[in-house]
Amino acid sequence: MTHTLTSRPSTLLDQVIADTPGKAMNLKACLQCGTCAGSCPSGPDMDYSPRAIFAMLEAGMDEQVLKSNTPWFCVSCYHCMVRCPQEIPITDIMYTLKRRAIAAGYYREPSQENAAEFSETFCDFVENSGRSFELGIAMRYHLRHHPLGAVKMATGMGMKMLSRGRMDITPTRIKNIDQLKSILKKAKELGGEE
């Protein structure tokens, strides 16, 4: 398989490069040194290390990449990114892979632990009120996926947070939510990946 810089994005590798800001082009110069894998705090829980993911992208193993839990287990600590000798924006690439996995409908694999749905629940609250709402997000997400966990949270940590005045019972809504909704609506229309 050959990659040329001028051709239309076709492979997942090309799409990822096109859709990640910064020096994503450097992905093609990955040395496979493994510094990213060695720096990754959640690496042990990933299906494939970031280094392996980049090798798989190069090898055209698109489906395995998108079905893996790797991007969803990225904790966004940016250690790999500051250590990469080729200055590949690894963390930003992980975000792109998440979006690609959603677009391809590959994000409901059991190993991914419903991570995408957590993000979606979070975004739902933000889009509708303009602010994050911890209690609502936690309740809606956990009741759906780990009902036991929801009960544990509500009775244990949730109570401690509430009693210390650290949790809102109702969501806060920004004044000009209509403006935000118009902006996001337009952004979604334009939001198709390159």
Binding site: S132, M161, R164, I183
Partner: protein, 321 residues
């Protein structure tokens, strides 16, 4: 000095202690914060995982509102995730023309516009360490935090990534160390000071998160820290509210309070603890605060390195009587 202020969702409630103590120390430091009117959530690490352009547009609305309200100015975010999102969007809008065109159109749908570079995004740590400076902090100290052993915890998103202009080292930052030292406290060696707290993994894969939290607590305990000082609501929440869960999961018994560095600054400035949000932490900071003494600790003598050898030490045989 006047600064724009973007509190972010956490500081509204969960990290109220951070907001309250930030406001309390701003006054003696001569900082005037003007909150961005009607700001919205920055999207944390979630929005960008779902849709790209909406994630950029969401953050851009805040930049546009800040510029409209305060003109070209510094915008301070105390939350690490808010700070990075604001800074990153401003940076990539300047760098990527296609991205900017789309974000421009989205903002226009809301009657707003933003020119990248108009706003200089700062984290609160940067404002205090760089703009205000350590000397000015020291001058305000009336109740030094003598004998309080503090682990300075930076987390991830303030020191990293390093592809934008940064004020501290990406892996071995020291600005928070210096602030705490100038408050009279003892800054402990904390090798994991810039390691991850697990972020949102507590919600997705608790075991992954608990292990990351355990490492940090163990590291602080190994170096006999009385408390951990943080600058991020997510880090505070994970280390504080999940400490019980870590203890239950690993059979440990950590009781390390996690407070915001601004709370410690306030204490040293002589502001009463109840005006600084103390008491909101789940692992109580009181036992640690009780250790503060009026007398400065005696300087720790570094272990004498034995006799001054002029040559390499060699094993000697016991002399026979």
């Amino acid at each position: 000095m006047k600064y724009g202020y973007y509190p972010g969702c956490s500081l509204e409630k969960n990290a109220r202690a951070y907001h309250v103590s930030t406001m309390a120390v701003a006054k003696p430091l001569g900082i005037e914060f003007v909150e961005v009117d009607d700001w919205n959530c920055c999207g944390a690490t979630e929005m960008i995982a779902i849709e790209k352009i909406p994630a950029y547009a969401l953050v851009s609305r805040n930049l546009a509102l800040a510029a409209k309200q305060n003109g070209s100015t510094n915008l301070v975010a105390p939350c690490s995730a808010c700070y990075l999102n604001l800074k990153k969007v401003d940076h990539y809008l300047a760098e990527n023309k296609q991205l900017k065109e789309k974000v421009d159109q989205a903002l226009e749908a809301g009657g707003l516009s933003y020119q990248p570079g108009t706003i200089n995004v700062q984290h609160l740590l940067e404002t205090i360490a760089v703009d205000i400076g350590y000397e000015a902090i020291k001058e305000k100290v009336v109740k030094p935090l003598y004998n309080l052993r503090v682990a300075p915890y930076y987390g991830c998103l303030v020191p990293r990534p390093a592809n934008m202009e940064r004020f501290d080292d990406p892996e071995h930052p020291t600005s928070l160390d210096k602030i705490i030292k100038n408050l009279g406290a003892t800054v402990i060696d904390f090798p994991l000071k810039a390691q991850c707290c697990g972020g949102h993994m507590t919600q997705i894969s608790e075991n992954t998160a608990l292990e990351l939290i355990r490492r940090l607590l163990k590291n602080a305990a190994d170096y006999e820290a009385d408390m951990i000082a943080t600058l991020c609501p997510m880090c505070q929440l994970n280390l504080d509210a999940y400490q019980d869960a870590v203890n239950a999961h690993f059979g440990t018994n950590y009781k390390i309070p996690v407070v915001y560095f601004t709370q410690l600054m306030g204490l040293a400035f002589g502001i009463p603890a109840n005006e600084l949000g103390f008491g909101k932490e789940i692992v109580s900071a009181q036992p640690a605060l009780d250790k503060i003494t009026e007398e400065a600790p005696k300087p720790v003598r570094t272990r004498e390195r034995g006799k001054q050898h002029t040559e390499l030490p060699m094993p000697t045989q016991a002399e026979e009587e």
